[in-house]
């Protein structure tokens, strides 16, 4: 049973929710749309298909304090950071980003469970939004994601000037409880049909991923074309930091003058210091670092997770790579049977 709300009353809904919970939504600031905390003055941009940074930051923030140390002489006091205890709603997540949460779960909720991530997952309600107008950089269809009917605690559709809600989980039922019931669900059905048609036209909608699996690990790893593919790579972290599934992190200490703040922050395997040790690094050139990123997404991760790729086809890397080198290049260049 769906619920509905006129689109122009959405701020009202947000206002009501934000009395008790934080509302995170796609918000425009300094010309760019990113997920941020909604306030009365926020410029809400539900029409923006892709936020620059993905939605993963709601559960796995770019920077997160984990523990604070106070040092006195030879003594150390350890003060672990608090885990999140407040409820929040992340609104307007697209199907691709919603899948990325499931992938992050595989990492952070596998034994041993990460307490900070787990608390955020527990307290967060994910409200997804169907993509009315997928773009040429989208290729979520390759990973079994339905942009017309995304997962999440609640799924929303904007059809005309009405927004429709369908609760999928307990959290979702609680979220939609006070909304009025939709008398007619046919606009949603029509929209879904329409989106499905558009999805068929995606230029990268049907990639051949044969050969990207644990069984072909050595074959993919030893492919001679990696160096050719990586040649233009700048070694920046753009792809990593906009990616919804990249989950590598660094742990660092900051000396505040009175204590030591240990925090973790997103890291990128594209950076030269990623694996640097006192005696050197096992990935000395950009070729190895580049290979690591794509091997992780397309081979190592599926090998450890029943064939599930660590890519959701959001296409952010296609849009943002300064030199236009991205996962499509890799899939097309290295896939087996690509002409078959």
């Amino acid at each position: 049973m769906m619920k509905q709300l006129p689109l122009d009353r959405l701020p009202e809904l947000f206002r009501k929710i934000s009395e008790k919970k934080t509302v995170i939504a796609p918000i425009q600031s300094a010309g760019q749309v990113n997920f941020g905390v909604w306030t009365e003055d926020s410029i809400l941009r539900l029409d923006a298909l892709k936020t620059v940074k993905s939605a993963k930051g709601a559960f796995f923030p770019q920077v997160e304090d984990i523990v604070r140390f106070r040092m006195e002489g030879k003594k150390i006091d350890i003060h672990p950071a608090d885990v999140l205890t407040e409820e929040f709603v992340i609104f307007g997540v697209r199907g691709c980003d919603a899948r990325s949460f499931e992938l992050l779960d595989r990492v952070f909720l596998s034994d041993p469970v990460d307490p900070f991530y787990a608390a955020r997952r527990q307290h967060g309600t994910v409200v997804t939004l169907a993509c009315n107008e997928p773009e040429e950089t989208c290729f979520c269809t390759n990973f079994g994601i339905d942009a017309a009917d995304p997962a999440g605690d609640v799924t929303c559709w904007i059809a005309g000037d009405v927004i429709y809600f369908r609760a999928n989980t307990e959290k979702g039922i609680a979220f939609t409880a006070d909304l009025e019931s939709a008398e007619n669900e046919s606009p949603v059905e029509e929209l879904k049909k329409n989106i499905t048609e558009i999805l068929k036209k995606l230029p990268f909608g049907a990639l051949n991923l044969t050969g990207f699996d644990g069984d072909h690990l050595m074959e993919r790893f030893n492919d001679p074309r990696w160096s050719e593919l990586a040649r233009g790579c700048l070694g920046c972290g753009t792809c990593t930091f906009v990616c919804p599934t990249c989950q590598c992190y660094d742990v660092r200490d900051f000396d505040t003058g009175s204590d030591i703040q240990r925090y973790r922050c997103w890291d990128s395997c594209m950076f030269s210091d990623f694996t640097l040790m006192a005696h050197g690094t096992n990935r000395p050139t950009q070729t190895e670092r580049f290979r690591q990123r794509f091997m992780h997404k397309l081979v190592y991760f599926p090998s450890n997770n029943e064939g599930l790729y660590s890519c959701v086809g959001c296409g952010r890397c296609l849009e943002k790579c300064p030199q236009s080198i991205h996962i499509i290049n890799v899939i097309k260049a290295l896939g087996v049977n690509k002409d078959a």
Binding site: I76, V251, D255, T275, M277
Partner: protein
């Protein structure tokens, strides 16, 4: 298992100077006793707040009841700091991490051959003492250990007085890289020494040392008729989390911190040679 990100407090209760660049630190919980139980070959993350956190193999055997020891070579920021600290210093520690040597399963009842070079003895030290404390569970035990010089041999007093003691029923073979005054033992590199000792290929081998030594030891063993399923080693790559999440210590689809650090060579064969 303790909380996987937040470390606990440890206190350094003794520091032993082993070689010019290796010290062994004894770590206990603040109110005495071990910080946690471990198995031979497992590691722990030791950190000095403000300096950094690094993974170290636990040198002492689990059979030691009161403390854990870490032999640390001075080579980076954290190790440098550790080398400058005094007894009584608190550090933070979390662990144990990784897959241990299969001391209670595959190694049980086998004739063992330990091959170590330099500070590579540290992770094997734990196994050797575990074997020693459960001596009847294992067959013949041989230890081949080499270093650059006499001074660089780690744990020499213990090797000479305990391991080489006939009561231990272990054969110890030491070697140093170059001739040196006051050294009447073997001179030469470890791989060649192993070949000279001419072991029958029925031993189970545990090897640890610099990568180049491991490479040539493996060649020597293959020449002598050993197969890769008989040889274990322990790996080291940069680590941050220790629990297979931060994503940097992988070799192929395996994480050294979680799926290693102990690997059998046939397992490594199936992985890219990116280490």
């Amino acid at each position: 298992m303790p909380d996987n990100i937040i470390p606990m407090l440890g206190v350094v209760t003794a520091i032993r100077i082993d070689t010019p660049d290796i010290k062994t630190f004894r770590v206990e919980a603040v109110d005495g006793g071990k910080c946690f139980e471990h198995m031979p070959g497992q590691c722990a993350m030791i950190s000095v707040p403000g300096v950094g956190e690094a993974m170290f193999s636990i040198t002492s055997s689990p059979t030691v009841k009161d403390y854990q020891e870490f032999s640390v070579k001075k080579c980076g920021c954290v190790t440098e700091w550790l080398h400058h600290m005094d007894v009584g210093q608190q550090i933070t520690i979390r662990g144990p991490y990784g897959r241990p040597f299969p001391v209670d399963t595959e190694l049980k009842g086998k004739d063992l051959l330990f091959i170590a070079g330099g500070v590579g003895l540290a992770p094997l030290h734990s196994v050797i003492n575990y074997v020693l404390d459960n001596r009847t569970d294992y067959g013949a035990v041989d230890i081949v250990y080499g270093s650059r010089s006499k001074e660089d041999l780690l744990d020499l007093p213990e090797i000479q007085s305990v391991w080489a003691d006939p009561a231990s029923k272990m054969n110890v073979h030491l070697t140093i890289d170059r001739e040196q005054d006051g050294w009447d033992g073997h001179v030469g590199f470890v791989p060649n020494f192993v070949k000279e000792l001419d072991y029958k290929p029925d031993r189970t081998v545990l090897v640890c040392g610099p990568p180049i030594m491991i490479k040539f030891v493996l060649e020597a063993l293959t020449e002598m008729g050993f197969v890769k399923t008989q040889v274990y080693t322990t790996m080291e790559l940069r680590m941050k989390c220790g629990v297979g999440k931060c994503g940097r210590c992988n070799i192929g689809d395996k994480y050294v911190c979680k799926d290693g650090p102990v690997f059998r060579f046939d397992e490594l064969d199936e992985l890219p040679a990116e280490y």
